[in-house]
């Protein structure tokens, strides 16, 4: 375990020096962003089993707020990050409080509905650029604007956030909170009978998840310097978080990383092969992965690996 961790850390730290050039660095940054967002989703969707299909609302808030701070007050975009986190936390409470009273799919349905409502609303609201969206500073006024020509600073910035998130998730996993999350996922009624404060635990998980998804959104807009309703609040954003985590193994520490490791290069490859003519291909790819996971391996690649290694050990 210790050596495995060190190898992963070394590989991530040295990646830009092994595969050099903007093309590979861009893939590296996309991988880290997918891993961060999916790890954030994983806290509530994976560990607690409360499948959100509307996490784009937190991603979008995170992405919009820095650029809104810039466009309204010419402040460095990064100044909007704490405000985005606070707004995402408030949104999590508003959604979680009523829906976590219920069991089953109500939470999933509520998240889709709210995310879509926000997307439509943002798309018609002039203050946030309506359908056109918002732009960040074209040229950095100083280092605090975080506009770098190279992908490299972004790579290490994103890597730092991923490291913090994974460490936090690791600590959560070992703590009472983590055990409570897993028990809720397994059997809510039984968890309640053992004194688990089910509603409050789910809400805490959603808030933690929302905060980090918001940070992921902020990282995205800080890097691209642009955001519009679809790339911030679109349903594809939510589905991507879910699929990356589910593909690698929802409810496991490194599942989202594995999912991102498979999906991001795959997306880059399909984009390269088919170009603009294959713009709908991402939906087909996601649909295909959902069907394959649901039919053959709901536990994702993590479960598949454990099953195969157990079979090999038995031989």
């Amino acid at each position: 375990m210790k050596w495995g961790l060190l190898t992963i850390a070394a590989a991530l730290l040295l990646y830009p020096f092994i595969l050099t050039g903007p093309f590979y660095w861009d893939i590296g940054v996309a991988f880290l962003l997918a891993a961060i967002s999916a790890s954030a989703w994983n806290i509530v969707g994976g560990y607690a089993g409360q499948v959100s299909v509307g996490h784009s609302m937190f991603f979008g808030v995170g992405a919009y707020m820095p650029l809104l701070f810039f466009s309204l007050w010419k402040l460095p975009p990064v100044a909007g990050v704490p405000a985005a986190i606070l707004l995402s936390l408030a949104l999590a409470v508003v959604i979680g409080m009523p829906t976590f009273r219920l069991q089953g799919h109500y939470f999933s349905m509520a998240t889709i509905a709210v995310a879509e409502l926000i997307r439509i609303f943002v798309g018609t609201w002039d203050l946030v650029g309506a359908a056109i969206g918002l732009q960040g500073p074209a040229v950095g006024r100083g280092w605090w604007d975080l506009t770098f020509r190279s992908e490299l600073p972004y790579y290490y910035m994103f890597l730092g956030v991923l490291a913090v998130l994974l460490y936090l998730t690791f600590e959560v996993q070992r703590s009472r909170f983590g055990y409570y999350l897993r028990s809720i996922k397994a059997d809510e009624r039984a968890a309640r009978s053992l004194g688990v404060p089910v509603r409050w635990t789910k809400l805490k998980a959603l808030m933690l998840s929302a905060a980090f998804t918001s940070v992921a959104g902020s990282l995205y807009s800080l890097k691209t310097g642009f955001i519009d309703p679809d790339s911030g609040f679109g349903i594809l954003v939510s589905v991507q978080l879910l699929i990356v985590a589910a593909l690698g193994g929802a409810g496991t520490l490194f599942g989202p990383l594995v999912g991102a490791l498979v999906l991001v290069p795959l997306q880059t490859a399909t984009n390269t092969w088919f170009g603009a003519s294959g713009s709908g291909l991402t939906y087909i790819l996601y649909g295909g992965i959902i069907i394959l996971l649901a039919r053959f391996e709901p536990g994702g690649l993590h479960e598949l690996y454990h099953r195969i290694s157990a079979q090999l050990l038995r031989r």
């Binding site: 055990y179 409570y180 028990s183 397994a186 009624r189 009978s193 053992l194 004194g195």
Partner: protein
């Protein structure tokens, strides 16, 4: 008095599943609840476990009114329960299942782990503690349910057919485990169909039929009660007596 449930009724639409049931349990007692299928035992049991609120009546535990309290609140004050169909956390290990219970009284992992390890040892699950719960058979799952509740540090345990579906050897081991649980100072209320369990363990029995308590007393007296025999065998049972 540890538990007092007075005038408990539960109504679903026009149907009164439980009507005017009184139960008082002293600390350290073992009380059995028996009755034919559909007699209202489980509904009453779910009311005192906090799984559902009674439509009428009042439930007091150790001086605290729990009539409309949640299942979580029941666990916090010291009422633990098992489920008729074992509700173990399938993908978690046996030790982790017990840890969830232990965290109720011990927020820090180290303390909770020490309690959980003692409990898995006590319940005879120590050897399998790192296996997933799904790998256990029925007797193991029933044992794990008891272990998990024990880890919450209950004063009263409500056991819902916890020994059903076991073979005679497993049944004797189960009865022995419950006896040892009782010697830890835990009061037991047992819903059970298996008369061997009731006759061996219970000091007092309440017999349910059609939502009401039709008899109560010592197990040896209750099984001779005409109303009880009639509830189980039907009115015409005398015709077939040798």
């Amino acid at each position: 008095m540890l538990l007092s449930a007075q005038g408990i009724a539960k109504v679903f639409g026009n149907f009164r599943a439980v009507s005017g049931v009184n139960l008082s349990v002293e600390e350290g007692e073992i009380v059995g609840l028996i009755g034919p299928n559909g007699a209202g035992k489980s509904t009453f049991f779910n009311c005192i476990a906090g799984d559902m609120s009674p439509s009428e009546g009042r439930i007091v535990f150790a001086g605290a009114d729990l009539t409309h309290a949640t299942a979580e609140a029941h666990a916090r004050v010291g009422i633990g329960r098992t489920f008729q169909v074992p509700a173990t956390f399938e993908d978690m290990t046996i030790l982790d299942n017990v840890l969830v219970g232990a965290f109720l009284r011990h927020p820090h992992r180290g303390d909770a782990l020490a309690t959980a390890l003692e409990i898995v040892e006590f319940t005879g699950l120590a050897e399998q503690r790192n296996q997933r719960a799904r790998s256990l058979g029925t007797p193991g799952r029933k044992r794990l349910e008891i272990a998990r509740v024990l880890a919450t540090g209950p004063r009263l345990m409500l056991l819902d057919e916890v020994l059903a579906g076991l073979n005679p050897t497993e049944l004797r081991a189960g009865i022995d485990l419950l006896r040892r649980v009782h010697t830890r100072g835990i009061t037991l209320v047992i819903v059970e169909h298996i008369m061997e369990v009731i006759m061996t363990l219970a000091e007092r029995v309440l017999v349910f039929n059609q939502g009401r308590v039709i008899a109560q007393g010592k197990p040896s007296d209750v099984i001779r009660d005409e109303a009880v025999i009639e509830a189980y065998l039907g009115r015409g049972h005398r015709k077939y007596r040798p």
